[in-house]
């Protein structure tokens, strides 16, 4: 199950803590906004990646899994508790 990272660019405020935490996975530009890896993430490092996501004060990073992304969004939202 290959996962990818996704940034909500409207939420992201360029704190850059994600890139500080896993610099070899998440790059930072000169304004400290993340540059995400092109390919799928290394499954063996998901723990670190999760912690990098948790560092984000804006909660701007999410994991996208292909099987979830392929599900119909409308149906998925209805199934998630608390979703509108």
């Amino acid at each position: 199950m290959e996962a990818r990272l996704k940034v909500d660019w409207i939420k992201c405020d360029g704190y850059g803590l994600c890139g500080d935490f896993v610099p070899d996975i998440i790059g930072l530009d000169e304004w400290r906004y993340p540059i995400l890896p092109e390919g799928p993430l290394d499954g063996g490092r998901m723990h670190e990646i999760q912690r990098a996501m948790d560092c984000c004060p804006m909660r701007a990073l999410t994991l996208v899994r292909p099987d979830v992304a392929a599900a119909r969004p409308g149906r998925l939202r209805r199934l998630l508790p608390g979703a509108r």
Binding site: V7, D8, W9, I10, K11, C12, G14, Y33, I35, P73
Partner: protein, 433 residues
């Protein structure tokens, strides 16, 4: 001339474009609009016509309507997009001002076809003639039609016309684009599935529904079919609106306005979201979305901007990049900071006062900004920059090394980079087969 035989039924056919065509003239000239009962046939004709959306993305219109019809369950909304924040384009504002009933026809057809009760006309507030003409035209429709339609004036701004920005403004008075998903086709105006369609696409649909795909496809050169509105600028005359047969070459259009290949160094295609190309490479290129895509170019909003040989492409690019940076909605960091840095560095290069690392910076930002925003504004801007780096490579190099321009720097003839610059266009009509 591009004309073959005149046809009174194309977009810009009929009376003068100086004022709105009254409803009675419109009906006498084109006949009644097919009804909701004909919706299936309308969509079949749209599919067969091959009509592509004219807002810039070029998605097949028939397929878009069908997909919406399948998901709407009668609860959809049609948003007729006439924001036209692109300063290099005239087509939508003139079409709405001169042929308001044709655009309304298209929106009504779309609503009937996709299962929408409500129609929102989203019209750039700076396009005053369009707002006035549509306001009058909506009131002239019978109650059952006019009660379905409301008009909302779009705020001035480039990204306000982006689909999610338009829906955001209609819903919440805020024209900034939103994060997708959800797509507007899933959850748009009032949370309902929303068909966002450019007004030129709607006007074409209104003709195709009446006269059929076969009629639409009678026009066109080579393998390209149908007609399109384009805006031609940089000819030394004010920007002009033309209706061309798709497949007409860039050279034919330019020569029709008195431009020559020798007097033109480059062409900006598709608008400020578009691409620069060397004039010699594209002079015989057909204006046809498929042929252009093959060359890595875009038809986009139909802009053909000629850069005269005596004008500086680096300066023209710096102006456009400055516009694009200013027009960022200001939400996403890579767009806010990246486009500003690109615009500033390009300006320094154009003025012959570049810093040692400016060219490296331009190359890097052009690479890293794309794909890093909620909407595609930064992607379009850096695509234009990337094309400038290819087309004006030698000239940029010259600016950096000698501080001077290869061409004599004169005003480019491209529209001044501010959104309120819609100076009175000269509208030239063109009859097509």
């Amino acid at each position: 001339m591009l004309n073959t035989t005149p046809d009174a039924r194309r977009l810009l056919a009929g009376p003068s474009l100086d004022g709105p065509e009254p409803l009675a003239h419109h009906l006498a000239r084109l006949g009644p609009l097919p009804t909701a009962r004909d919706a299936q046939r309308t969509m079949s004709e749209l599919d067969a016509s091959g009509l592509l959306g004219r807002g810039g993305a070029g998605f097949p219109v028939g397929r878009k309507w069908r997909a919406m019809a399948e998901r709407s369950r009668g609860h959809a909304v049609v948003l007729a997009n006439g924001a036209e924040g692109e300063p290099a384009s005239l087509k939508d504002r003139v079409l709405m001002a001169a042929r308001p009933h044709l655009v309304i026809d298209g929106a009504v057809l779309a609503a009937d076809a996709v299962g929408a009760n409500d129609i929102v006309f989203y019209v750039g507030r700076e396009h005053e003639a369009a707002v006035a003409a549509l306001g009058v035209a909506i009131e002239q429709r019978r109650p059952g039609v006019r009660q379905r339609i409301r008009m909302i004036e779009a705020p001035i701004g480039y990204v306000a016309g982006e689909a999610s920005g338009a829906v955001h403004f209609v819903n919440a008075g805020d024209p900034r684009p939103t994060t997708t998903p959800p797509r507007m086709s899933e959850r748009g105006v009032n949370g309902r599935p929303t068909l966002v369609q450019n007004v030129e696409s709607l006007a074409h649909a209104a003709l195709i529904a009446r006269f059929g795909a076969g009629w639409y496809r009678e026009a066109g050169r080579g393998t390209a079919r149908g007609t399109a509105l384009i805006t031609l600028s940089g000819t030394g005359r004010p920007a002009e609106l033309l209706e061309i047969e798709l497949g007409t070459t860039i050279g034919e259009v330019a020569a029709g306005a008195g431009a020559s290949p020798a007097g033109t160094s480059a062409v900006l295609l598709g608008g400020y979201f578009g691409t620069w190309a060397p004039a010699a490479d594209v002079w015989s290129l057909p204006l046809d979305p498929a042929a252009m895509r093959e060359k890595g170019l875009t038809f986009g909003c139909g802009m053909v901007g000629l850069l005269p040989a005596h004008a500086c492409g680096v300066d023209a690019t710096a102006r456009i990049m400055s516009f694009m940076a200013r027009e960022s909605a200001g939400q996403c960091g890579p767009c806010v900071f990246g486009l500003r840095a690109l615009a500033d560095a390009t300006r320094r290069v154009a003025d012959g006062r570049s810093k040692p690392d400016d060219m490296d910076g331009i190359a890097r930002w052009t690479q890293i900004v794309a794909g890093r925003g909620a909407c595609h504004h930064p992607d379009g801007a850096v695509a234009l920059m990337a094309s400038a780096l290819r087309v004006f490579e030698e000239d940029m190099d010259h600016h950096v090394r000698s501080g001077r321009c290869l061409a004599m720097s004169t005003p480019t003839g491209l529209p001044a980079a501010n959104t309120a610059s819609a100076s009175a266009p000269t509208n030239r009509r063109m009859e097509v087969a």
